[in-house]
């Protein structure tokens, strides 16, 4: 019954009102797009907000949590930072912590990463024969965090462990 009412409203609108509604919708979509693109420019990252996909950084980050990234290339990569990197030939970016860095005088850096919840470093994840990551593999660095709602039991259990 509701849908019929709505269609009647549309039929009653003249062409001008219809165009106005379409334009209105277009404005909303463009505003959302502008905000997203603006975020991309400010942070310098192609994906300024990412969702955590795996449990390899637990108990800090769980699947479903949000991470806010920046990708300022001038910021030096240092140990302890959480970087989001992509391995050559693989689509899915990985969010892990930097474990080791060796930087030359000219700024060329090679570094090793490891997930907090993993027992070993990430060399098993890199390409065959690849021992280090470089600046070009970095998609962004985690600067902000938002925890997806979790049940109270989940939080309490973790504290008791």
């Amino acid at each position: 019954m509701l849908s019929l009412d709505f269609l009647d409203d549309v039929r009653r609108m003249n062409k001008r009102q219809l165009y106005y509604q379409v334009l209105n919708f277009g404005m909303i979509v463009s505003s959302a797009l502008m905000i997203w693109k603006g975020l991309m420019v400010i942070t310098g990252s192609e994906s300024p907000i990412v969702v955590v996909l795996s449990g390899s950084m637990e108990p800090a980050f769980h699947r479903g949590d949000l991470l806010f990234l920046t990708n300022r290339v001038e910021d030096p990569i240092r140990v302890g930072e959480i970087v989001v990197f992509r391995i050559e030939g693989r689509e899915i970016p990985i969010v892990h912590r930097v474990l080791k860095i060796h930087e030359k005088q000219n700024g060329h850096i090679k570094f090793l990463t490891k997930g907090d919840n993993n027992a070993v470093d990430d060399r098993g994840l890199y390409k065959q024969g690849q021992h280090w990551l470089e600046k070009k593999d970095v998609v962004g660095r985690a600067r902000g965090y938002y925890q997806e709602n979790r049940s109270v039991e989940d939080r309490n259990c973790k504290l008791q462990v």
């Binding site: 019954m1 509701l2 009412d5 108990p59 800090a60 980050f61 030096p76 240092r78 140990v79 302890g80 930072e81 959480i82 912590r97 474990l99 080791k100 860095i101 060796h102 930087e103 030359k104 005088q105 850096i109 090679k110 090793l112 907090d116 470093d121 060399r123 021992h131 280090w132 985690a142 600067r143 902000g144 965090y145 938002y146 925890q147 973790k158 504290l159």
Partner: protein
């Protein structure tokens, strides 16, 4: 039929308003803890240093300097925890310069400290968790390897800052390699 419409539209605008208010409150909560000083006093002490030259079995199989350090950590992190801190990720890192690399940093040990656990750390005779391989032979005779304890503050919602503790200790590595001694 008109009554149902206004009820729905009222529910719709109420829902939208609730969402906006909740977002604003979350942002306000984040801002109250975003600029807090998360540093704390740290005391580090190194008790044993050993240097070997071994084929780096964790990665590129070249003979590299391998260091072994035993250390004590004392830190009081009670003031860093507040309602918006879920955990601290602590890590002890060694930083040094060599002929081939201007900046080297190696994490030797890390620990996750959840809110609710004892925030006063008094750890003695801790052995490094991760192998201290250099990219080459830069540890031999290196007098200026600095150990610092740092931590990453993981909030419930907000910024992820990295803080370095105030205490640091310099480790002088020996001029020659140990051949036989086991650590």
């Amino acid at each position: 039929m008109p009554k149902m419409n206004t009820l729905l539209s009222r529910a719709n605008s109420l829902f939208a308003f609730t969402l906006s208010v909740m977002a604003a409150v979350t942002l306000g909560c984040i801002l109250t803890t975003a600029f807090k000083d998360r540093s704390a006093p740290v005391r580090l002490h190194v008790s044993r240093i050993l240097l070997k030259k071994v084929e780096d079995f964790t990665g590129p199989r070249t003979k590299s300097d391998l260091g072994f350090i035993t250390f004590h950590i004392y830190a009081d992190l009670e003031k860093t925890f507040d309602w918006n801190v879920k955990q601290l990720f602590l890590y002890l890192s060694a930083e040094y310069t060599t002929k081939s690399n201007a900046v080297n940093q190696v994490v030797l040990w890390d620990k996750i400290l959840l809110r609710g656990e004892n925030p006063k750390l008094d750890l003695k005779d801790v052995k490094s968790k991760y192998f201290f391989f250099d990219d080459g032979h830069g540890l031999k005779g290196n007098r200026n390897v600095t150990l610092t304890l740092s931590w990453q503050v993981v909030p419930i919602a907000g910024i992820l800052p990295l803080v370095t503790g105030s205490g640091r200790v310099s480790v002088p590595f020996p001029d020659s390699y140990e051949v036989a001694k086991a650590f």
